[in-house]
Symmetry: C2
Subunit: 362 residues, 2 copies
């Protein structure tokens, strides 16, 4: 079997996969209602929030769209803080639905600069919301969200956070950091299969929602709320994936969120140290290196496409390339979710053999 080391979907523990062999049940019955309520309560623990949390049946990008259309009206000014492909995507969604996006883009590989954000907010008092990526999966950079949030809240703006690849892996106390909307998905830190997104909403987010006029039906958070009061979702949910998520969240909580975050920190450092020992250059600013995914720059003659092929065909290890303008410029190793040093060690060993074959000369 291949060893999947991309930044999502991540491998799932056997118990999580087995959970999906449970026969389907009525999504509007008591048994499913209890599971949905339990999963929602567990998600609140992992989001470190007392706010509302909803499970949506969609990919992570669907969760981004849900966040945008529930918070904004066409013409609203939105500051997009982007440090990579997913930050740009968040801005694209907002633009597509008629928001006036003020882009604040940072060099890929760097974290967002707090002073630049402050300046942007000073320059444009009419900004209503700020879009921030906590962990940028495309570059392996983790923003200093606590500080970013402080600045945004100085100006009393709505903070909408893409936490796809951070929740469960990297500390994100949603309430303490005043995240108004936080979006994540199941196939990253929570070691469940893809197919569900999860959003949290602060009281301020609910206020914004009440005035938001972007068109929405499938994503409508008001419908999510009124159905969750009946222990249901508005539309037929991905029942089997909810079974899997229920099992995986129990595993995360049984390890303990703090322990999981500490494990990711340990494995992240182990990965970076291993890569550097091979003479590779990390793409991300190391002060903001992600503990969920590491990007490696294509230096010293390294042909990343050739490397990915050799790793897959000769070592049965699946790594990821770069996205968008980073295609061919980097390769990425996912170390989120169900991962320990023992999963990374063979990757480093295989890279040692594969790198010279892919043109890399130390």
């Amino acid at each position: 079997m291949e060893h999947l080391r991309i930044p999502g979907p991540t491998p799932c523990p056997e118990e999580v996969l087995q959970a999906m062999t449970k026969q389907l049940i009525n999504h509007r019955g008591q048994e499913f209602g209890q599971i949905l309520n339990d999963v929602t309560a567990e998600l609140k623990q992992l989001f470190q929030t007392k706010n509302d949390v909803f499970v949506l049946t969609c990919s992570g990008t669907g969760g981004m769209e849900a966040a945008i259309v529930n918070m904004l009206s066409p013409g609203d000014k939105v500051l997009s803080v982007s440090i990579g492909v997913f930050g740009d995507r968040f801005a694209d969604v907002a633009r597509q639905f008629g928001a006036e996006v003020i882009p604040l883009r940072f060099e890929f590989g760097k974290a967002a600069d707090i002073d630049d954000i402050r300046r942007a907010l000073q320059n444009e008092p009419e900004i209503k919301a700020v879009l921030v990526t906590h962990n940028e999966t495309s570059t392996g950079v983790t923003n200093d969200l606590a500080s970013i949030s402080s600045v945004i809240k100085e100006f009393d703006k709505l903070l909408i956070v893409d936490a796809m690849s951070s929740l469960g892996c990297i500390n994100l106390p949603v309430d303490e950091w005043h995240c108004d909307v936080t979006v994540t998905c199941t196939q990253k830190g929570w070691m469940a299969p893809p197919g569900l997104a999860v959003v949290s909403l602060s009281p301020e987010a609910w206020q914004a929602h009440a005035n938001a006029r972007m068109p929405r039906f499938y994503w409508d958070f008001s419908k999510c709320q009124s159905y969750l009061e009946k222990s249901q979702t508005p539309w037929t949910p991905a029942v089997s994936t909810v079974f899997a998520l229920s099992t995986s969240l129990e595993m995360v909580l049984s390890e303990g969120l703090a322990n999981s975050i500490a494990r990711h920190a340990r494995v992240g450092k182990f990965t970076r140290d291993g890569l550097k020992s091979l003479g590779l250059s990390l793409f991300a600013d190391e002060n903001y290196a992600s503990n969920a995914v590491t990007a490696v720059a294509a230096t010293n003659g390294l042909d990343t496409k050739s490397l990915l092929k050799i790793m897959r065909e000769e070592h049965q290890i699946v790594l990821a390339g770069g996205q968008g303008k980073l295609d061919g410029k980097i390769f990425r190793i996912g170390h989120m979710g169900w991962v320990t040093e023992d999963d990374i060690e063979p990757v480093i060993s295989a890279l040692k053999v594969a790198l010279p074959k892919a043109g890399f000369a130390k």
Copy 2:
């Protein structure tokens, strides 16, 4: 274990559930690409279409929203042919995104009248598209879609079909009946878990798409098309559910679509005959009775809520109630997907015992 007899999600064969125990793979790698291509080809066979077919990660309602926002512009006139809750929902989605909906509603339990549709199209030449439910899950009525399509095509309008509970169960030759957009989901006739919707698009639908200005990002069919050319989906798909769908479609094709449709016809008649033998009144006009779901009217003192409770608690059989204004007025039995007469027989036997306890007096 409970015997699930609601109109979706339906029970899944063990092989389908077991398919989801396969470890996750790279959704942008060759192996998944091959599975996606195979599933897409099989779906085309089952849609009886040569048109494009896309798999979306969402509930069926997400598929409805996708159909609307990809085909229409705000202000477009749309004829909504509604015979039940799901017909009304389709109209709601269109209205929510700014379409001018002309509602043509028929009494719940009846099929749409062809002459009324013709008159509506004559009265309003500016109608751009017509929304039609093939099989109305809320009432157990199957529209005569072949005739409806003929009228709509006399007027050269776009035909957008909700085929959630018909495809796989009831004959729907998409190309022969000139369906421009056809939407379905996985948890009905295809006996797979929920979490995926499927849409087909005719060349005329692509033309409409090119001019459609409703805002869209997650649902954008152009993105679906360009990614499918690379054997991918734009966003991370519900990989495990695709594994399940792949297995279930092979089972449907191995039975043969015509045989599956014939089996549904047989089981549908068996269900209706059994219910009538108990003295129950079918809610739907029998000339249009659905072979996928049967609705029973609450006559002769029958308390449907009490009946559903007794069936569940004393017979471990889960039936469905009525939705919306049909709440308390009907109960429903699903007989779609993985079902034979042997699954319905115990339902009829249990009803015989339960009905008198729920107030029903013959």
